[in-house]
Symmetry: D2
Subunit: 88 residues, 4 copies
């Protein structure tokens, strides 16, 4: 997932959230609105996974390959990011 792909996906999520607001505005059936919120959430998580993969493969791997203290910082940050995503 490269930068263009990430931006395309994020624009799609933004559109999904705007669509949810229009459904609420138009008094659409709650269950249908909830289905769209679930879809937007999944799409957002998909972006997070893509970003995480990219971060692991570049920033974290580069720091590990270079060795030194930065590698430990990057590894700790990566786990903390996963923890935050799991709690969201």
């Amino acid at each position: 997932m490269d930068k263009d792909d990430l931006l395309r996906r994020l624009r799609r999520v933004e559109g999904q959230v705007r669509g949810v607001a229009q459904m609420v505005e138009g008094d659409r059936y709650c269950i249908d609105v909830l289905t769209q919120i679930a879809a937007a959430t999944r799409a957002l998580q998909g972006v997070a996974v893509g970003l995480f993969d990219d971060h692991l493969r570049h920033c974290v791997a580069d720091a590990v390959a270079a060795g030194g203290g930065d590698a430990q910082v990057k590894l700790t940050e990566a786990t903390a990011a996963v923890e935050r995503l799991l709690k969201s």
Copy 2:
């Protein structure tokens, strides 16, 4: 959580997602972007909980109070919506 409150929250989520796109665009540090995605996801789940509460308290409770087959349909739909949210 009334309609105005839901719309305000959704507009805020839309802004958060747009902010995430700007962070990606500006090559901001991945971990910071992931933190914002986790925040947007939590905000979206908060909207879902508010909508679900409203739906339960009105549509589902009204159908149950009226009795008849529609109550069963509404109860089944409510559980299915929870299941979709849990999987998202």
Copy 3:
């Protein structure tokens, strides 16, 4: 999902968690252990959905049909339970 079915599923989840412990004990590959933890989590969420459905269909629906203040308490509790599950 009746009581026997819930108990059967919970015993299966208990076995899955014990299996995960045995994998850790036997130094099995972390990724395989994580796959089993994801499966146990999904199974646990499935039990929660089944219980929630049952609770909605009986306790909540009965309180709503009876009317009065208990209905509001039960509806508030149901939403709060969904919120806790979403955050777990």
Copy 4:
């Protein structure tokens, strides 16, 4: 989180799941059972985060430091594990 700590936590989760089964068996109030299921799920996710951290810091970092094709395999596996946990 070392092996002993992981095993202690997993035994606690196993006990929590058994406790949930006893609550269902004893017809305890559904909402209280759901609260316990949410707690067991969170505990299980905590174990997953601990294992993931350990895996990243050892298996993945070692493969990256050694270079070669195995590093790519390990990085791909790590992201896939995060994706499975997020979907569970």
